[in-house]
């Protein structure tokens, strides 16, 4: 824990100090820019894109992770010669996922 603490603490201190020093030097130097108006960032209004982006990758991840565990077991069975069982075990989740994937693509693709 102290090891990671040292890593993070040094990272924070050294990056902030380096950036601050360079910015200070620039501010005090002859090559500094003319004073400019500091624009405020615009407001972010749409949250739909963000929430959609979160749902899609994590649902795909959870689906594939759950499938992968059974697939890994099936791989061992394949080595033992239970080929039909393995093919069935792979075909069903692949078919289900492909069905959902292509339906989703049809619905949202521009």
């Amino acid at each position: 824990m102290a090891y990671i603490g040292g890593f993070v603490f040094t990272c924070l201190v050294s990056t902030i100090a380096t950036v601050w020093t360079i910015a200070y030097l620039q501010k005090e130097s002859r090559i500094r820019p003319l004073s400019r108006v500091r624009w405020q960032p615009p407001s972010i209004k749409s949250r739909a894109v963000i929430s959609f982006s979160i749902i899609l990758p994590f649902s795909a991840f959870s689906f594939l992770f759950l499938t992968f565990v059974s697939m890994k077991l099936a791989q061992n069975l394949n080595l033992e010669g239970h080929g039909v069982y393995v093919v069935t075990g792979l075909m069903i989740p692949t078919f289900c996922f492909s069905l959902g994937f292509f339906y989703f693509r049809k619905m949202v693709r521009p």
């Binding site: 040094t10 924070l12 990056t15 615009p42 979160i54 594939l64 697939m71 791989q75 994937f101």
Partner: protein, 304 residues
């Protein structure tokens, strides 16, 4: 405890040196070749030597602006990226930060950091934020589906899910030699890296919607890309070999070559618009990766 703390601090210094060397060497080589390419097309060629380019980069760094809040925000954003590099074995065979879940933590950091950064900016600015941060977050999340599937496929292909394990299996041969199917994954990871750092292949790179002036925000896309390239070199190209104590330097060379070649190749041959890029990642790369996952599971013993 104090010794551990100091060791962690020195590990960070080694990590940052490693990243900065790769970044600057890549910039130098990429800009050098790009200007040479432009000369052939009639550009006058002023300031195209390596020294001139280096001088220009130094001057660019010295022109950094910003207020105290920007500098603290930069420091906080930089920490996860350097932790991600710390999880990878860089200077030697062993990673700086050892963890049994390092492979998954790396992916999580690379996806969640731009998102957390956007949320922090959004909350600290009371509902406002620069489009630059919003695009970074959107791209990290947009590439996450492909990234997760690529990661799972890699684990299925190799049976390893730690960076130490990947180093171990590549002691005698690179992964792309042991398992040629992994070349597809390499291309997939490089594409996701370019997409997440919105550079070269994807046309957003030349107009960042951000505040005026030159700040360290401009540094993040390159940092993101370099972290991904170190990952790719570690996983597929043997990482730091045990070679007369200079394995780290060999890895730097590999990273620079991959970074420059991928950058130039993508810039010369491809330029996707924003919507084309998202289509490509989601509708072409993702199904191809799922296909690779299925193949790698159906065909056991793929790694020789």
């Amino acid at each position: 405890m104090i010794i551990d703390f100091i060791q962690g601090a020195s590990e960070f210094l080694g990590t940052v040196a490693f990243v900065l060397v790769i970044m600057e060497l890549s910039f130098l080589a990429e800009e050098f070749f790009k200007t040479r390419f432009e000369i052939r097309r009639g550009f006058s060629g002023t300031g195209t030597s390596i020294l001139e380019i280096l001088k220009r980069h130094l001057l660019k760094i010295l022109r950094i602006e910003g207020i105290w809040k920007d500098h603290v925000a930069f420091g906080l954003r930089a920490v996860p990226f350097f932790i991600a590099v710390g999880l990878l074995p860089i200077w030697s065979y062993r990673p700086g930060i050892e963890n049994a879940y390092s492979f998954w933590i790396f992916g999580g950091i690379m996806v969640s950091t731009p998102l957390l950064s956007m949320i922090c900016q959004w909350s600290s600015n009371k509902g406002a934020g620069w489009p630059f941060n919003l695009i970074s977050a959107e791209r990290a999340l947009g590439g996450a589906t492909a990234l997760f599937i690529l990661q799972i496929t890699l684990v299925a292909l190799t049976g390893e899910d730690t960076f130490e394990g990947f180093s171990h299996i590549q002691q005698h041969a690179w992964l792309i030699v042991q398992a040629p199917l992994s070349i597809l994954l390499l291309i997939g990871f490089v594409t996701v890296a370019f997409f997440a750092s919105f550079q070269t292949v994807f046309s957003k790179s030349h107009r960042f919607d951000k505040k005026d002036g030159w700040g360290f925000d401009d540094f993040f896309p390159s940092l993101n890309r370099v972290v991904w390239i170190i990952f790719v070199a570690n996983i597929f190209l043997g990482g730091a070999p045990d070679f007369f104590g200079v394995g780290g330097f060999v890895l730097i060379l590999k990273c620079v070559i991959v970074n420059v070649v991928a950058g130039i190749f993508s810039q010369i041959y491809f330029s996707f618009r924003e919507d084309q890029a998202e289509n490509f990642i989601l509708w072409s790369l993702t199904p191809a990766t799922i296909g690779t996952l299925i193949f790698s599971l159906i065909l056991p013993g793929h790694r020789t």
